[in-house]
């Protein structure tokens, strides 16, 4: 399979910025059409069409337009943007130039996760290189198109990967998500039209411009075109970042790419899209393919491709306890259901894992989760805990009941700590 995103990961990207010659011969509207035609969907988790999103920028706006590259990668289980920045930062920058040209932005920001200091250095160096070669700055390659890119480091909050919280943080405020609408494309950074795209989404653009939408669309399934970086971790023999064609069966991915479940053990469950999405049991997982539709049909999501695998010795209650603790810690605290619900869920799951659970706790977990999700909150952070909770409790109910019945964790002796 031809690689789109990771083709230069072994050696320097000699073809970087090749797409720009072609880009500047196109009009911005043509670029947007091309990206729409490619079917490129957002790789940050939501899977929204990138071209359609760009189209939301008001045509007659007098305000400056901003492009933001969302590099606040902090979803537990996801580490693919980091790989892009470390191994081929110029592809990301090239993608940003394409996106900025398409939407008419002359200032772009890379909002980079605060913990990514090394990556910040790499990207900073890459930006300097690009500027030195005239790919950034005034009148890029004689096109009369200007673009400056700045990096902005986050301060360690997961929620700042949510695009509106990112904007609040970028503006210097507390990383609180904003109520939508207005969407950032209408009122984003400093009240101006703003497009926020994920690192991986942007990195696909050079290929689309170089080879055309049709070539890109040959990859993947009808509705999920292209390839996807999957960050594979957990109980597998070969963890790492893999570029796969959309639509690859999970069984093939686990067995051929990841080298199978480790220690010859059986698969108990896995999460294909990052900790914010429902878990799949082994039986479910092996009927699902790595594309947006197939994952959605199975009740989960391809999300950001944070693929983690749990073998048969894993305690699912403890797994949920880890997950819940993360969301409790990261809830921004702005709106009630999430602020109070994440902590409450976390406490209940902890109690069950420690052997102090009660029969009624399982129903309580589901009730509390239902009260947190589906539009009860400003952003979908609460859903990102509620959905996994409901999936763990319903799909592995027996394990939860056993914890309550025994008054202790039955996996305590076997699980890797």
């Amino acid at each position: 399979m031809e690689l789109i995103l990771s083709k230069n990961w072994g050696a320097p990207n000699r073809s970087a910025y090749a797409s720009l010659q072609k880009l500047f011969k196109m009009t911005p509207a043509q670029v947007i059409e091309e990206v729409k035609a490619s079917g490129l969907r957002g790789r940050g988790g939501a899977g929204f069409s990138a071209g359609v999103k760009w189209g939301f920028i008001p045509k007659d706006t007098k305000k400056p337009i901003y492009l933001i590259c969302n590099f606040d990668e902090s979803e537990p289980g996801t580490f693919k943007d980091r790989a892009i920045a470390e191994k081929d930062p110029h592809m990301m920058i090239e993608g940003m130039i394409i996106a900025a040209y398409a939407i008419g932005a002359h200032t772009a920001y890379i909002y980079i996760r605060g913990e990514f200091y090394k990556q910040w250095e790499i990207v900073e160096a890459a930006l300097k290189e690009a500027a030195a070669k005239g790919f950034l700055g005034k009148n890029i390659l004689g096109s009369k198109f200007d673009l400056d890119i700045y990096q902005h480091r986050g301060a360690g909050a997961y929620i700042c990967g949510e695009e509106t919280a990112l904007l609040s943080s970028l503006e210097g405020g507390r990383g609180y998500p904003r109520i939508k609408p207005p969407f950032p494309a209408i009122e984003g950074a400093w009240g101006c039209p703003t497009i926020v795209n994920n690192v991986e989404t942007l990195s696909n653009l050079p290929y689309i411009i170089n080879n055309g939408a049709a070539a890109f669309k040959k990859f993947g399934t009808e509705k999920s075109s292209g390839t996807k970086l999957i960050s594979a971790s957990g109980h597998i023999n070969k963890p790492g970042v893999y570029e796969v064609e959309m639509g690859l069966p999970i069984r093939t991915f686990v067995e051929e790419y990841c080298g199978g479940v480790w220690k010859g053990r059986k698969l108990k469950g896995l999460v294909p899209g990052g900790s914010s999405f429902p878990v799949l049991t082994a039986e479910e997982a092996y009927n699902v393919n790595l594309d947006f539709e197939s994952c959605a049909a199975a009740g989960t999501s391809l999300g950001s491709g944070g693929f983690y695998v749990m073998d048969e010795t894993t305690c699912m209650v403890r797994m949920l306890q880890f997950t819940a603790k993360f969301y409790e810690h990261e809830s921004c605290g702005q709106c009630t259901p999430c602020r109070e619900g994440t902590g409450w869920v976390s406490q209940i799951v902890k109690r069950i894992e420690e052997g102090n659970g009660r029969d009624r706790d399982l129903q309580l977990l589901i009730d509390v989760s239902n009260n947190m999700m589906n539009g009860r909150t400003i952003c979908v952070f609460a859903d990102a805990l509620a959905m996994p909770v409901i999936s763990y409790v319903t799909k592995f109910r027996k394990e939860f009941e056993e914890h309550v019945r025994l008054g202790k964790c039955p996996y305590a002796s076997t699980m890797v700590r």
């Binding site: 990261e330 009630t336 602020r339 009260n371 589906n374 400003i378």
Partner: protein
């Protein structure tokens, strides 16, 4: 244009600005562009809310006002959702009720439920909404998060952070109304804490408004804290007499003691705010310096005397000195009625009487462009509009009737003038404690001869004309304390003793006569 054309234009305009929506299957007409919450409240549909405040920006964080809209698959917060023609809103189906109960349950997860010792208890939105919309027992079996219980945010406001529901009304008040940006939320999630920015204190001149906007017992007035359970308080609509602005207030009192003022909504005067200085100005009503009995000066000292005795004494002196100057000193501190009755009394009884005015003067008066006026008198405009011809000064020998407090310069002039008699109508002997107040040299024994105790504005009805020339009424909260008598009552009695009887018999009666005599008063805005 005929009248009918005007009416038709008006009807067309009205129709174009109204939309029809259905709230719980009942069709209502509401103003275009309003929010679902406002539309519902205007139509007596109760939607619970915490973070929404009509004078602050929408933050949409409490999630209490979630409703369902037909055709939308997710609930919306009604405080922010604008009405659209044909919209169908559901605020009380089982589904919505469950949603509201869910949110209330979340709010209560970490709430300390210390209502028995909470000042807000009895006027708490959380209590009210719980009883109206939930009433479910707690399902929490885990530890609550603990936070600072008694934290002084500034000189006047104390925070109990455990009770805080992080609605951020107070933060938005400081950002948007006071413009001083003292408050912020720190930490995250359930550990979110309301606090001041590092190095800042909550000490803007309107800081106690944060206590008003706090829907729960998190922000409490350090002054009012633990003084009174609110259900014992009676509330009288009144006017703040702290300055010329005349903020509309709710006076909360019990057993003839005033405990606090709270702003009363009046869009034209104070919206729903008031300043801290005005809010704490209630203390003079309960002050230890109050006079409760008529006092008569004998050998340089005041002695208590009966009303009969005091009035008789005054009448005797008046009879003995028919030819002297009679001078009334009207005050910008006193109500229209008090000033009017003194004015009217002197003109009727002593047709040649002359008048002077006095007002409270403060060395460096606080003032701003919002509510705080540098003129610390509630009724300056009455004296202005009365257009009395002022006598030259206090130098005349004669008989003085003084209403409220004189300035120090006036007192000195009065002492120099060696008047025959000074009758002082006052509710208290003055702010001895304040700098610039009465020094011993100018204490009443030196310049007054008879002191007639009058009630404060809390104990009687009265009107004040504020800086906008609005005629505003302060209602009577409780009966005059001690043997204080309203000015009209004292002067009517005195007029009978002087054989020129005035027939004032009640406040409405005085007000009616005032309106007849001073026609302009009826034309003032209310």
């Amino acid at each position: 244009m005929s009248v009918w054309e005007n009416v038709r234009t008006l009807v067309r305009w009205y129709a174009s600005t109204m939309v029809k929506i259905k709230i719980n299957n009942k069709e209502v007409e509401v103003a275009e562009g309003t929010t679902v919450l406002k539309a519902a409240l205007a139509n007596k549909v109760d939607i619970p809310y915490f973070c929404y405040h009509p004078k602050l920006s929408i933050s949409g964080n409490c999630r209490m006002c979630l409703v369902n809209i037909k055709g939308q698959n997710k609930p919306v917060i009604s405080c922010r959702e604008r009405v659209r023609e044909g919209m169908e809103v559901d605020t009380k189906s089982e589904e919505v009720k469950k949603m509201q109960q869910g949110v209330l349950e979340f709010i209560l997860v970490n709430h300390p439920l210390d209502c028995p010792i909470c000042d807000q208890s009895g006027e708490c939105d959380l209590q009210d909404n719980y009883f109206k919309f939930s009433k479910f027992p707690s399902r929490l079996e885990d530890q609550k998060i603990h936070k600072p219980k008694v934290k002084s945010l500034g000189p006047l406001v104390t925070l109990d952070d455990e009770r805080c529901i992080v609605c951020t009304r107070c933060v938005r008040f400081c950002d948007e109304v006071a413009g001083t940006h003292e408050l912020c939320v720190t930490e995250r999630g359930g550990h979110s804490e309301l606090t001041t920015y590092p190095g800042k204190e909550l000490k803007n001149p309107y800081s106690l408004c944060t206590v008003d906007v706090c829907p729960v017992g998190a922000l409490t007035s350090t002054d009012f804290r633990f003084k009174k359970r609110v259900w014992f308080l009676k509330t009288t609509p009144s006017i703040c007499t702290g300055c010329a602005t005349g903020c509309n207030i709710k006076m909360d009192w019990d057993d003839s003691v005033v405990y606090r003022y709270r702003p009363r909504e009046n869009e034209a005067v104070n919206q729903c705010w008031m300043c801290d200085e005005g809010r704490l100005s209630y203390k003079f009503i309960n002050d230890a310096n109050r006079v409760f009995e008529p006092l008569l000066k004998k050998h340089g000292e005041f002695e208590e005397i009966t009303w009969e005795g005091a009035l008789k004494h005054i009448a005797d002196i008046c009879y003995e000195n028919p030819k002297v100057h009679y001078i009334g000193v009207l005050s910008a501190q006193a109500s229209c009625e008090e000033n009017f009755t003194l004015h009217s009394f002197l003109k009727n009884v002593f047709p040649k009487a002359q008048f002077l005015t006095t007002k409270k003067e403060v060395p460096h008066p606080s003032h701003d462009e919002f509510l705080i006026d540098a003129d610390k008198n509630p009724n300056s405009n009455f004296l202005e509009l009365l257009e009395i011809k002022e006598a030259d000064d206090f130098a005349k020998e004669g008989i003085y009737f003084v209403l409220e407090h004189l300035t120090n310069a006036q007192k000195e002039a009065l002492i120099m003038a060696k008047p025959k008699m000074v009758v002082w109508l006052a509710s208290n002997l003055g702010d001895v404690s304040l700098a610039g107040g009465t020094s011993p040299k100018l204490s009443p024994p030196l310049w007054a001869d008879v002191i007639l105790p009058k009630p404060t504005f809390a104990e009687q009805e009265g009107h004040f004309i504020n800086r906008q020339k609005r005629l505003q009424k302060a209602n009577k909260a409780f009966e005059p304390k001690g043997h204080a008598r309203p000015v009209w009552m004292a002067l009517a009695e005195l007029s009978r003793k002087l054989d020129k009887p005035l027939d004032w018999n009640s406040y409405p009666n005085v007000f009616k006569e005032m309106s007849q005599e001073l026609k302009w008063i009826t034309q003032l805005q209310r």
